[in-house]
């Protein structure tokens, strides 16, 4: 991002990244304008007046985001300045849309639950976790010590919903656990733990896994004896598909592992092997699992009266109704679409903010992923590279799978839209992911220790002048 001044370059350190916390603050204020503005627009659109709690809602958002900003200034001064504002804007937009659909549902049924206030509490928890991660975890490499712990924890978390009495089936998928009135999706936390576990494991074993086996059509295939880990992961993914009926998570976990394996070993052969295994698994799943067949049939022809694709069709109607510029916040009918506030929130965005809004949101995700992969590129240690890649790819895959599913690019699989969808587990986990990314990027962008004369000099005017030139 920042171009090195000539004198900086002559110091022999290559890039010296600027902290750019001021830029972050400006972007953060912009994202607050988006989030709070959307909330105000919902009130204007639905009731014709500003929402009564606009001030408290706006202040709450501002305090949370500025709090995160202060934590970054203090504990990760060199972290990427774009990530937090993107997350802030997406989260603010999501809150506004969830609130809008609350109003739409309550117009029909005054007793309908309000999700927006709960979501704000989850966002607060997410921000607290964000701060905690950054304060407690001063160096991401310390996570490497927890490679197997994280892996074990992830597996336990994934299995928890299958425990009788604890697991709950919601909307056809057994991916929830319930304790009293609270329900939680452990898979979302497992996502983060899996990235840590994969990164730690692959850093250690990348050399062995990179050994070439048979060569087929310009591609070196891996050796047969190294297939163990990927086979294991394949079976875990199939297990999630069969026993938890969760197409999205299954795809996400396997894709994540495959990409990290490829990046660690630099062997495209793994993509060939993994891709073939994915194709086999998907085909087997299609042949034997009714819920997969239903999804594929709905994808191929949702308007066929024999196909039960009500949700998908209503989502498409909403997006078509929104057109280029949308109906305006509060002026569409996104509450018609089932789960228009969670899995199908992008369809609700498309209805009220139009293609313009959907493109903006997709681009925000695109930038988020780009910043994550850029962090991976400049990261100095392999564990950090792998983690940043994994965390970025989690976002990319998840966004592709859920938005692609809702817009009928691929068959629909249930996943949350990061930061937008209603749902506590997902939101908190994603805030943690961003905290980890920022920690890695802080490490990556921080000037190498031997070249740093001291914090005082970095903050001195002389350095600033050099950097600004």
């Amino acid at each position: 991002m920042s171009s090195p001044g000539p004198s900086t370059a002559s110091r022999g350190s290559g890039f010296v990244h600027r902290r750019r916390r001021g830029a972050e603050l400006v972007l953060l204020l912009l994202s607050l304008v988006v989030g709070v503005g959307a909330y105000a627009a919902v009130g204007l659109g639905v009731d014709g007046t500003l929402p009564v709690d606009l001030l408290t809602h706006g202040l709450w958002l501002t305090v949370l985001l500025l709090g995160c900003h202060v934590v970054l200034r203090r504990f990760a001064a060199y972290a990427d300045p774009v990530l937090l504002p993107i997350v802030g804007a997406l989260n603010g937009l999501g809150l506004a849309m969830i609130h809008r659909i609350d109003l739409g549902r309550q117009a029909r049924n005054p007793d309908a639950a309000a999700f927006a206030s709960t979501q704000l509490i989850w966002m607060t928890l997410g921000a607290i976790l964000f701060a905690t991660v950054l304060v407690v975890l001063r160096d991401h490499r310390r996570l490497q010590a927890f490679t197997y712990t994280a892996g074990l924890a992830a597996i336990v978390l994934l299995l928890l919903p299958l425990v009788p009495g604890l697991g709950r089936t919601i909307n056809g998928s057994r991916i929830w656990i319930g304790i009293g009135p609270l329900s939680f999706q452990p898979g979302e936390v497992a996502k983060v733990l899996l990235v840590v576990a994969f990164a730690g494991y692959l850093v250690l074993h990348r050399d062995a896994l990179a050994l070439a086996g048979r060569r087929l059509l310009f591609v070196d295939l891996p050796r047969g004896r190294d297939l163990g880990p990927i086979l294991g992961m394949w079976l875990v993914s199939l297990g999630i598909l069969v026993f938890q009926r969760d197409l999205g998570s299954s795809l996400l976990f396997f894709g994540l592992f495959l990409v990290m394996l490829y990046v660690a070993t630099e062997r495209p052969g793994w993509l060939v092997v993994g891709g073939s295994m994915f194709a086999v698994g998907a085909y087997l799943g299609y042949l034997s699992l009714g819920h997969v067949q239903t999804r594929v049939a709905a994808w191929l022809d949702p308007f066929d009266p024999d196909v039960n694709a009500y949700q998908l069709v209503q989502g498409l109607y909403g997006m078509g109704w929104g057109g280029l510029v949308g109906r305006g916040l509060g002026q569409g009918q996104p509450q018609i679409t089932p789960l228009g506030f969670s899995d199908f929130i992008i369809a609700s965005m498309g209805e009220e903010l139009g293609l313009t809004g959907v493109m903006a949101i997709i681009l925000l995700y695109g930038i988020l992923v780009e910043r994550a992969l850029r962090t991976a590129l400049i990261c100095r240690d392999n564990f950090g590279k792998l983690m940043a890649t994994g965390l970025g790819v989690v976002f990319a895959l998840q966004v592709f799978v859920v938005i692609g599913g809702v817009t009928r690019l691929i068959p629909l699989t249930g996943l949350t839209t990061p930061f937008l969808s209603q749902g506590g587990s997902s939101l908190v986990a994603n805030w943690a992911i961003v905290a980890l990314l920022l920690r890695i990027s802080d490490q990556a962008r921080r000037p190498p220790p031997e070249l740093v004369a001291g914090d005082d000099e970095l903050d001195s005017d002389a350095t600033q002048v050099v950097n600004l030139r």
Partner: protein, 497 residues
């Protein structure tokens, strides 16, 4: 590891590009299809939005017969029909859950404002931040004629099934179209949706006799003696006959190849073994027209009928989910006795009231039948004309030459002055007419037809009236008794202006 990371970046870029392209496809290219109610009638968003929009009015001579008035509920506007019963089959109905009917359906894009002709208006509304308004539709109806037709049918009794069509012969404009029993579109358009649904269900219970059924266009029945006008037209066109030609007028006509005879209504003779063609029409002589039909042959009769519009669908201004103009027909390949029966409008000849009005209109317009139409103009929300319907001839015109048409008009005048249709006479106006009484099935009461035009020299209106199930004794049912007074009232309304 940077090389695979860069490769992954490109991969992610492709994924996001695919998402962007696909969103563009759904929300731009596919949007029109997704929001078209004809493609996706289950699209509640579009349905609700159209229901809440300020629709244009349906106008008759500048007065609304369907209009949108502000309402203080969620839908903002309530569709109301000021003269609901009288215009029900023309305006049709505009409902949230039960579809659209009549002109509300056929001109929906104009009324709702979504028509491409209103594109500029929509852009202006968008720029002015006003809700888009619909355009208006102006009908060809003459309100006095419509009133007269409605009152005339109502006077026969609530249960009377019947219909009236009046046409301006020189243009094809429909001046009146009434079908009885009628219904109240206000009760379908109400925002009390369960009541609207219940009302629609009740209306549909009658099946073909449903009040929603527009008897003027939707059903065909044997036209009976009114079809003798077509036979007479064919006779004059053949060149072998003129109004003074002698035709058989005895008590019975021996039908070839059968042991039965064709007899006159009442069984007597028509006033002699040989009478003139004019006299035959005056007394509606079955024997005369049966033998003329035999003489001309089925092909000549069919050809004449088709020139008047039989065999084609000509009118689509009221097409909706339930309504289509029925095609009037002349039998395909009748043998001789069937031809004789067809020539007097029995056997398998069947016509709509609209078709019989077109026969009269063709005779009135010196032999040229004009295509009937109901929508005169479509108007922008500012009442500027978007499109005006131009009168056009039916295919294969003229149906008869002008001289024959004038002769036939004179013969029809004789029917009113000296024959079976005296009840249609209007003092000071030369009226031409023809009665008909026909029977569709032996166990069902016959029904009465009346077809007329006025003034005979330069006709400005042609009328067809059909009265079914009048609830009167069988022998009292006749065109002149029941139907002719209704036609007279309609003609008076048009001519008397």
């Amino acid at each position: 590891m940077n090389r695979p990371i860069r490769a992954m970046s490109v991969g992610c870029l492709l994924l996001f590009a695919a998402l962007l392209l696909n969103a563009t496809y759904v929300q731009y290219w596919q949007a029109d299809d997704l929001t078209s109610l004809s493609e996706h009638p289950d699209n509640i968003r579009v349905r609700d939005a159209e229901f809440a929009r300020e629709r244009g009015s349906i106008l008759v001579r500048g007065r609304a017969v369907a209009e949108s008035n502000p309402s203080d509920d969620a839908y903002e506007f309530q569709r109301t029909y000021p003269r609901a019963l009288q215009y029900a089959h023309l305006t049709g109905y505009f409902t949230r859950d039960n579809g659209l009917g009549g002109v509300e359906a056929t001109r929906n894009s104009i009324l709702s404002g979504s028509d491409s002709a209103l594109f500029v208006n929509r852009v202006v509304d968008l720029a002015d931040n006003e809700d888009p308004k619909g355009g208006s539709v102006s009908l060809t109806i003459d309100p006095q004629a419509q009133q007269a037709a409605y009152d005339g049918l109502q006077a026969l009794g609530d249960d009377v099934q019947g219909s009236v069509v009046a046409i301006e012969p020189s243009t094809g404009k429909i001046l009146a179209m009434v079908s009885n029993p009628t219904f109240d579109p206000n009760r379908l358009a109400t925002h009390d949706f369960s009541a609207a649904g219940a009302y629609k269900t009740r209306l549909l219970e009658g099946g073909g006799a449903s009040p929603l059924n527009n008897k003027a266009i939707e059903g065909v029945l044997p036209p009976g003696s009114t079809f003798k006008l077509v036979t007479a037209a064919a006779a004059l066109e053949s060149g072998d006959y003129d109004p003074e030609s002698s035709v058989p007028g005895g008590a019975r006509l021996d039908l070839p190849q059968t042991s039965t005879d064709l007899i006159n209504d009442g069984g007597g003779s028509c006033g002699g073994e040989e009478i003139t063609l004019t006299r035959a029409l005056e007394v509606s002589c079955n024997v005369s027209f049966g033998s003329v039909g035999l003489d001309l042959g089925a092909d000549a009769l069919r050809e004449q009928a088709e020139k008047f519009g039989f065999g084609t669908r000509t009118f689509s201004d009221l097409d909706d989910a339930l309504t289509r103009q029925a095609v009037s027909r002349f039998p395909e390949d009748p043998d001789d006795p069937q031809t004789a029966l067809s020539a007097i409008g029995q056997y398998d000849v069947a016509a709509t009231p609209l078709q019989m009005a077109m026969v009269a209109a063709g005779i009135a317009n010196d032999g040229t039948v004009m295509r009937p139409y109901l929508v005169d103009e479509t108007l922008s929300p500012k009442l500027e004309t978007i499109e005006r319907t131009e009168p056009e001839e039916m295919p294969d015109q003229p149906a008869m030459d002008a001289a024959s048409a004038r002769d036939l008009r004179q013969m029809m005048v004789s029917v009113v002055e000296n024959g079976t249709a005296r009840t249609a006479a209007i003092p000071g106006v030369e009226v031409g007419g023809k009665t008909g009484t026909a029977q569709s099935a032996p166990d069902r009461p016959p029904y009465a037809w009346f077809v007329s035009l006025a003034p005979a020299q330069t006709p400005s209106v042609a009328v067809a009236v059909l009265v079914q199930d009048a609830g009167v004794e069988r022998n009292e049912i006749s065109g002149s008794g029941l139907a002719a007074p209704v036609a007279r009232a309609v003609m008076e309304a048009v001519v008397g202006r």
